[in-house]
Symmetry: C2
Subunit: 514 residues, 2 copies
Amino acid sequence: MNGAEALIRTAAGAGVEICFANPGTTEMHLVAALDAAPGIRPVLALFEGVVTGAADGYARLAGKPALTLLHLGPGFANGIANLHNARRAHSPIVNVIGDQATWHLAADAPLTSDIESLARPVSRWVRKTATPAELAGDCADAVAAARAGAGGVATLIVPADCAWGDAPGPVTAKRVEPRAQVEGRAVDGVAARLRSGAPALLLLGGDALGARGLAAAARVAAKSGARCFLGTFPARVERGAGLPPFAKFPYFPEQGVELLSGVRELVLAGAVEPVAFFGYPKLPSRLAPAGCHISVLAGPDEDASGALEALADALGAKPDAGVRAARESFPEASGKLTSETLGRTLARLQPEGAVVVDEAATSGAQWFGLAAGAAPHTVLSLTGGAIGQGLPNAVGAALARPDRRVIAFQADGSGMYTVQSLWTMARERLDVTVLVCANRAYRILKVELARADISSPGPAARSLTDLQPPELDFVSLARGLGVPGERVETAEQLAAALARSFATPGPMLVEALL
Amino acid sequence: MNGAEALIRTAAGAGVEICFANPGTTEMHLVAALDAAPGIRPVLALFEGVVTGAADGYARLAGKPALTLLHLGPGFANGIANLHNARRAHSPIVNVIGDQATWHLAADAPLTSDIESLARPVSRWVRKTATPAELAGDCADAVAAARAGAGGVATLIVPADCAWGDAPGPVTAKRVEPRAQVEGRAVDGVAARLRSGAPALLLLGGDALGARGLAAAARVAAKSGARCFLGTFPARVERGAGLPPFAKFPYFPEQGVELLSGVRELVLAGAVEPVAFFGYPKLPSRLAPAGCHISVLAGPDEDASGALEALADALGAKPDAGVRAARESFPEASGKLTSETLGRTLARLQPEGAVVVDEAATSGAQWFGLAAGAAPHTVLSLTGGAIGQGLPNAVGAALARPDRRVIAFQADGSGMYTVQSLWTMARERLDVTVLVCANRAYRILKVELARADISSPGPAARSLTDLQPPELDFVSLARGLGVPGERVETAEQLAAALARSFATPGPMLVEALL
């Protein structure tokens, strides 16, 4: 068998079930190996940003890595933005990049580039295979590196001659280092601080955002009086009726500073310390006030839900203590679509068990709060701020969980970055409802212009923040990519379109004019 | 004035006239500066790959740099693939990347990344500005670096506080190092070798591909008997009736080896030594045979056309010697579209002075040979092999030369990488005819599978090289992006559609089913 087949068999043996791909010439032996070695499903995307974003969405739902198959430096580079998001989400992903044959690198052929320099900023693990015989072992190491702790991005560069050369065979899966347990001493230290009764805030991230971690956090809050918030961009959080209805930590630094003012004890459970998303004149980087003590109960690679349970027990919280959201019966919205009527309509109709990929930006502001009272669901959000995550994440989520309806709740501007995702939704017949919030502007940038004291933008600033003319027509775009679509302008039309999509297998796009 | 305004005024003073942009929060002061300081036209694209590809197309036609305005690491990363092509094309480009404020980097906010690691592989010059006072000087250095020699990619990283902080004002343009003149001694050495009468081949690239360089090469060929070829992927070449009808050096290494077999003198004029695009088992990296002497008459950063003229004079070639293409009267094609009937129809109808951006891949194979007898035109091709260059290049070419019709001769698979380009064509009302060759496959990969001895691809290999189902519908895609379109299935329909587009201002897409 050749190196490529040994690699694919090794990955399959380590539990990899899917490969998102946009291959080129240097990956042809790896492509052929997907036929020679059964067990890994190939999924084609028309652009590499879809490949990596789909692998991220898959990882967040499946909790294990997909392979990506990418073409040398430039092909990989097209996938970097969504790997940046995946890195911030601690998503396990194994990138396989076909490179020039080892002996051909010196020729500096047109597609040759410094792949390692491109890969390092988004990868926790990078290796370039040296010989065909080592390829399978390198793959096993890559899968283990991707799965270690909370998960992360591992990048394996495969020279073409290592793929086509003879290899001894696959390698068995390597031992994976799980999330580290938090020591009892650390838990007791935090418990002592919370018992002081000083104003406290608990910030949740990582695996604290699952049902188990949230329930434990609610117990801690009920017993200690600490307030609980989700990190601003949760990679994956369980929400809706029956779950704790925690809000997200605010996006703008002024609001973060205000929320934290007076807080004396800040406890991080799987979350990082709150910092401003961007620096602004006269605003701080770190948002916690002077005199606020910060405790790391669990870092992102640690078992935050276990630590929260231990903390709740240490505090003596009752097993069923803590707030839970009631199921709201949302009144039907009518008339013009706004962030509120759109959010309410979605919260009312979203089916139980939906996965909502939230890249709705300013248009989605109302929905998240309302959805605390919706049917139980899972939310994925834009962890790294690199827009264009939403549609590819929806592809991957739907492949990880074909039993659940996926809702891509999508802003128009960011939707255009990786719009090619729709084609893969059609090809794979995925149960994805794409809800495009069409406000025809980079609205967040108009807000940021105002924040930069540019109160009356000139023609250049307007032209660089407006998305018209010409008007984007997402229904035509969807048709061009094989997905049926519908444009709606009222809450009633939106409700009818969503209901139709939720009842119909396969993808559908709804363009909501705001 | 703030640093941003000093930067924009400096760039305008150095001759920069246009800024392709997809900005975010860290670029808002730079956006506002485009209003405060007149002279640079902002052009919005919906994706950064369009921004950088447009800057490349602009540079190839205008011969001077545009600015690009890009958002931190991930935004820049989306533009890397087309910067890779620009690097190989020696296109002058000045990237301006807004980064986190200097004092905010340590907070590791979500969008923070190692921009320099991402930028270095595609940039000949990278600098991160340290203070607002230095920003204008850094911009002047960036423009000079981009313009030096044949041209290249310069990347300036601008922390947000350097943009919003006070600056003393703009800086005057720095001296630009032009293409180096080739010494007479070197020319005489090549002349002596060619006089030997040994079988010789002249390979042309860089500025040897302009009318002046081509004419000089034709003189050299006529006098010495050397055969002349264009590099396989010329960045910009003048072609058509009245110009030397040189063919391109072949793409596949077997053909390159065959062409060079028996050649004893290989002369490179602005071109690099011919190497295989990819390594294959049992085929060499370098294609010239053992015993072939390689002379570098002019490197890519040298004055190749001047050196060719000096060489022609040294050989004693007559001023008007050398082959010129006659204007062909192509017979009208009819019936089913093939690479031949499509190429003939385009060659027959393309208007004088057209700029043809050739990313038609396998579908375009016939056209290039035929077009030697078409009306004089300029061809841009895929210099770095990173597909998705064609449509953005067409945007930039049309903005550089609004007096000329631009034809984006485009394969379907590669067209999907940066399809967002169509929206900018519509917004800026560019005279671009997009001719999509829809063969519904990554045809080149099917060829490569066969070359890899995978003669009967399995379902995985087929699914990763087929572009259907579902069928892409480029006419709907174009409509969604504001561009009128038409689908054609015969040569007659194609001719009618092309004639209509060439006679109508503004963009139009023609989807040709092959």
